[in-house]
Symmetry: C2
Subunit: 275 residues, 2 copies
């Protein structure tokens, strides 16, 4: 059984605004892990790409050297989650990559919406990538994404405004309450592979912290609870749709015509599925 083989990989979430160089950083981290002889899976999530797949393909080009390495598995996830959502789909792929024996699973998300926050929630270590400038230095803070960071990275740190962002992030983290883990703020220039070893080192330190503090078990239990409920949800919804036997469109038309309401119709659907 697949599930029995999971639970070994270190799952690392990498998120941040678009244009922050997440893909380049992800690629650089993968190369560093390969130098340490670790096997790596990269899962890139783009919740907006049910429509255009350009973004993902474009990003993946920066990882071309990795695609020929048998110790690296790269997969883009662009599935628009129906019932169950993108986080459930991601979880499945992460589990497969974990069970396949990868030491490191890098999950890269765009980091703007609820999905990304949830996906990051399933990671053991979350890296939030920030960039200098872009009009509003603290855009990331405004978006509330900093609060999920275990490690903060200022990428494109060779740009003149980098120091300002770095300082702002320090002010931000100083204001936070920590329990046993101080969020490090690291500078990288991912396209030149500068500062990457330091990030990998911070990730390893965080992993040790997670194990020693018991936080790793907490995260695993939270993930298990989430997976349990989403699996139950998927099973139940499959039953409902199967039992409706093609009548969903008719019922929807009745609701749209105000001949019935969603709650009554849903209760009938459920009753029907249990006959």
């Amino acid at each position: 059984m697949l599930f029995g083989h999971t639970g070994k990989a270190h799952i690392i979430g990498i998120t941040g605004p678009s244009g922050s160089g997440k893909s380049t950083l992800t690629g650089a981290l993968a190369r560093e892990y390969r130098r340490q002889d670790k096997t790596v899976a990269i899962i890139a999530i783009d919740p907006t790409s049910p429509f255009t797949h350009g973004a993902i393909l474009g990003d993946r080009i920066r990882m071309q050297d990795l695609t020929s390495d048998p110790g690296v598995f790269i997969r883009s996830l662009a599935t628009r989650g129906a019932l169950g959502g993108l986080s459930a789909a991601t979880n499945d792929v992460v589990n497969v990559m974990d069970a396949a024996g990868n030491d490191i699973v890098l999950v890269e998300t765009v980091g703007a919406g609820q999905d990304e926050v949830e996906i990051a929630g399933t990671a053991h270590t979350t890296i939030v990538v920030n960039i200098p400038g872009a009009g509003d230095d603290m855009q990331a803070i405004k978006a509330g994404i900093l609060e999920i960071a275990d490690i903060l990275v200022v990428n494109k740190a060779d740009l003149p405004q980098a120091e300002a962002v770095f300082k702002q992030l320090h002010i931000y983290t100083d204001l936070q309450r920590h329990e046993g883990w101080d969020v490090p703020i690291l500078k990288t220039v991912a396209h030149k592979e500068e500062g990457i070893a330091e990030v990998v080192e911070a990730v390893a330190k965080h992993w040790a912290y997670l194990q020693e503090s018991g936080r790793l078990n907490d995260i695993r239990r939270q993930n298990a609870r989430r997976e349990l409920l989403s699996t139950a949800q998927a099973i139940l919804m499959e039953e409902i749709v199967a039992a409706a036997d093609g009548s969903l469109d008719d019922i929807a038309a009745q609701i749209a015509a105000r001949e019935t309401d969603p709650r009554s119709a849903a209760e009938r659907l459920i009753k029907n599925a249990r006959k």
Copy 2:
């Protein structure tokens, strides 16, 4: 019954990247509708704000003059959707606003993730706001968000790079296949209330198109189907959680310890709920 009173409002989704001036545009549209003596509800969605609520509060400040108008209802939705998700929560609020007799319901989203795309999917008319410059002119196209637009707006059209974005959007829409509706591209300077009447006019034209073409009925049926399934899902998951009677954490711990797997545990949960 609340549901029986819905189905009258024109639901308008407004989305686009952060910094595009969506809130200012939304406020300006609301003022224009009030001039036409229409009642307006504004629902602002920020899926990232389970963490920091600063963004929403900051944005709402731009709408202070509207808050004292009894013909305007403003509500921010920052709830991190548990099971059911943000789109279900939004749908509920939209229905309440619709049933309360508002002529116009403006739903403003950040427009970056799957949630926003889904929320936009429930609107009758979707306005996608673009901005000149910001490093990558076609960021919005890359994000795939243009494809949900019924009306495209170039806001901050007084900036020098506006013409370039305007042209790129024209090239983009010329490449699209249309069925009965040509997506208009309109220029606004929302903070000066310039171009707002034209947007309102385009929205009215789109409403007429939706009614004449039968598209309005299609959208209502799609929304009804979605609401039917999410209601069934909510009912079923409530049952499961209630029947588990506090044992979810124990089961999660067993899964985390690999003593059982999520599928078997979920099946047992369901069986137990049906006893």
